[in-house]
């Protein structure tokens, strides 16, 4: 294994050798962040297990690997993106597809949806909507001490831009499909910016898929601004192969009386690390952070949640659950930070995991930093086996052991899935999770990769 400096060095060299190419595809405003970001990255490096929030996750095998460079999708990639069909057939959504972090079209890189909503390529938007970009880009990741976020700021050149104007609510959800496909091992960075203005109401679904079996590393940053009294829902469905690493950093910045809900459903992936940062930046804001992880073999899923209660009378609720089989490992770290004048705070957190074997392992750690007095806060974590009493209860009604175990596991997972507010997706997830628990499905049905 290479040393910390060697590993960071690879990415520093990459920056030095390619910064001109990366900048060409971007706007001056976005480029103006790069130099500072790479210096921050140089200082912080790739997180190691000495870093408190990465204590249970080893990034070495993925970051120490030499990847090919990828700067722009080419013709065959466009075709691949064109061909992809979402597996959730009943899902009626406005969809966009990203391939290896890029918007895979030459024309029509920005689209207008009903209500004056704009969606499309971030690099294109940075020219067309420069005022909007200058007001929001890079603002919500400020002060972040994670080297990988800075690496993304330094290197990312495209991603999705989504702008929902004031008062607009869209009846249908918006779906972003992230595809990773290459005949070489690649490292990809993308950057999303979402602006949900005052009184808007939107649901966003992000699906992560790998289409070819190569080794992949994705490091994605999403910045979200949720305006006053807006309702924002983000559901992320992760379904990648065992040789893929997915690292996501999501920053949700909320204004007063807004409600934001995040739901991370990890069905599959080699190494998955989601950090979800909720900033409650106005009186009466409310956030929910949900997550479900189902892992087996040597998979590792790490969820880091940071809820920042910066204003009074805000409410937060975290619920993360998972089922770990074989030698799978997982981590949950939920931080609740209550500022001194955030009186009337309500903050809840729960993490429960079921270990199906003696070799599966889960580390869970709440981190509470409360500096106000009028705070209602609760947290709880359980790691264990299926409830024997419940198992017997089901069996005593004539349900055999195998079926009873399935029902309990499914019920356990459903507590998270029931929060998905898009019916077609919820039903599909129920279905996939059931198949996954039965062991009938090691990958998403839509996947074209027949890997083991």
């Amino acid at each position: 294994m290479s040393t910390q400096e060697e590993r960071s060095g690879r990415y520093l060299d990459f920056y030095r050798d390619n910064i001109e190419r990366i900048s060409e595809n971007s706007s001056p405003y976005i480029n103006s962040f790069r130099q500072n970001a790479i210096e921050e990255f140089k200082k912080l490096g790739i997180p190691t297990r000495k870093n408190e929030s990465y204590r249970y996750t080893n990034l070495d095998t993925f970051f120490g690997h030499p990847y090919s460079s990828y700067f722009m999708p080419s013709e065959p990639d466009f075709v691949k993106a064109e061909e992809f069909r979402c597996d959730v057939t009943d899902l009626d959504a406005h969809g966009v597809v990203l391939i290896n972090g890029f918007y895979p079209t030459i024309t029509g890189k920005l689209r207008e949806l009903p209500g004056g909503i704009w969606i499309g390529s971030l690099s294109e938007a940075s020219r067309k909507f420069s005022g909007m970009i200058e007001q929001h880009y890079g603002r919500y990741v400020n002060g972040n001490s994670d080297g990988l976020v800075h690496l993304n700021t330094a290197l990312a050149s495209d991603g999705v831009f989504l702008w929902i104007p004031e008062g607009v609510s869209l009846g249908k959800p918006i779906q972003i499909v992230n595809l990773v496909n290459s005949d070489q091992d690649i490292f990809n960075q993308h950057r999303n910016l979402i602006i949900a203005e005052k009184n808007s109401d939107i649901t966003l679904i992000i699906c992560d898929h790998t289409l070819s079996p190569q080794k992949f590393l994705t490091n994605a940053v999403t910045e979200i601004h949720v305006g006053e009294n807006a309702h924002f829902n983000i559901i992320r469905v992760q379904n990648e192969h065992n040789n893929a690493a997915k690292i996501t950093h999501t920053f949700i910045h909320q204004e007063r009386n807004s409600v934001a809900t995040s739901n991370n459903i990890t069905l599959h992936g080699g190494l998955v690390r989601n950090s979800t940062h909720h900033y409650l930046g106005g009186v009466g804001a409310e956030c929910n952070s949900f997550g479900l992880y189902l892992s087996d073999k040597f998979q590792h899923v790490d969820n880091y949640v940071n809820v920042d209660h910066a204003f009074p009378s805000c409410k937060s609720n975290q619920l993360f659950k998972g089922v770990l089989d074989d030698m799978a490992t997982g981590a949950f770290n939920g931080r609740i930070y209550v500022h001194p004048d955030a009186q009337g705070t309500m903050a809840y957190q729960k993490n429960s995991s079921i270990l199906l074997t003696d070799d599966a392992k889960m580390d869970t750690k709440p981190q509470l930093e409360i500096y106000a007095d009028d705070v209602k806060c609760s947290h709880g974590a359980t790691v264990g086996q299926l409830d024997e009493n419940a198992l017997f209860y089901l069996r005593s009604r004539g349900i055999d052991k195998r079926q009873a175990r399935l029902m309990l596991m499914f019920g356990f997972a459903h507590e998270v899935l029931q929060n998905i507010n898009v019916e077609a997706l919820r039903e599909r997830m129920d279905n996939l999770v059931m198949q996954r628990l039965k062991g009938e499905l090691s990958r998403c049905a839509s996947c074209m990769v027949k890997c083991v």
């Binding site: 017997f392 089901l394 005593s396 009604r397 004539g398 029902m407 499914f410 019920g411 356990f412 997972a413």
Partner: protein
């Protein structure tokens, strides 16, 4: 129907049931009474197939078969139903899904096709009426957030759905107010068929005003210390369990 003979069972090496013998014939109602901790629930659990208590001696024959060799789910499919003293909450598993699975497992065991969705819903509706259970409860997760009384009614509802041959009701009356008690007892009586049997485990006499037993047993310290007709329940009510305690300790 059920013949228990010299049944001994222990939990973690501690002897709990100390040689129980009793026979329940088709159509009979037996009451088992006794102070707390005497082993009533342990006996019920052993009959239902719970593995936490180890049978160290004795036999149990049910419908001519060795009951102790059957896994819990097969006992249920063969018609044994346990109404739990403390029904279990199962978050995330809906009552509908639970009952549909259970009913269809019973049907499969009998070689029958699963019920159609509409037949199943009709069955649910009929049985809900029978036990006067709130319709909304059936749409919730199993016992989750149910009051004590609702949990007990839900046990009787499940019994109604599964139509057991031998129902063992473990303190189904405890924690019920008088109205709920009447509903539960009426439910049990309506479900009674001439050749079905019931074992009613209770601490108090009052349930037996509604469900009239043919035989009453008193279980004390893991042994059946007295067996008689329904008048024994009244005698116990009048004299209290101390009376039994003294009698047993004197002999």
């Amino acid at each position: 129907m059920l013949i228990i003979s010299n049944l001994n069972a222990s939990i973690d090496g501690k002897s709990i049931l100390k040689g129980i013998s009793l026979e329940v014939k088709a159509g009979e109602v037996h009451a088992i009474m006794g102070p707390n901790g005497s082993g009533k629930s342990t006996l019920a659990a052993v009959l239902a197939g719970r593995e936490f208590a180890q049978v160290t001696e004795g036999t149990v024959t049910y419908m001519g078969r060795n009951l102790l060799e059957m896994p819990a789910e097969d006992r249920a499919r063969e018609g044994i139903f346990l109404g739990f003293q403390y029904p279990i909450e199962i978050p995330g598993v809906s009552m509908v899904n639970f009952m549909k699975t259970a009913v269809n497992e019973h049907r499969k065991y009998k070689g029958l096709e699963p019920l159609s969705a509409s037949d199943f819903l009709k069955l649910m509706r009929d049985k809900k009426e029978l036990v006067e259970i709130d319709s909304k409860l059936a749409n919730r997760s199993v016992n989750e957030g149910f009051s004590g009384g609702e949990k007990k009614k839900n046990e009787i509802f499940q019994m109604a759905m599964l139509e057991p041959r031998l129902a063992i009701l473990d303190e189904t009356d405890s924690g019920l107010d008088i109205d709920a008690l009447r509903i539960v007892a009426n439910g049990v009586n309506k479900l009674k068929k001439p050749d079905n049997s019931t074992i009613v485990i209770t601490h108090y006499q009052r349930l037996l005003d509604y469900i009239v037993p043919d035989v009453v047993h008193v279980l004390y310290d893991g042994r059946i210390v007295r067996t008689a007709g329904k008048e024994l329940a009244l005698e116990l009510e009048a004299k209290g369990y101390d009376w039994i305690r003294k009698e047993v300790n004197n002999s």
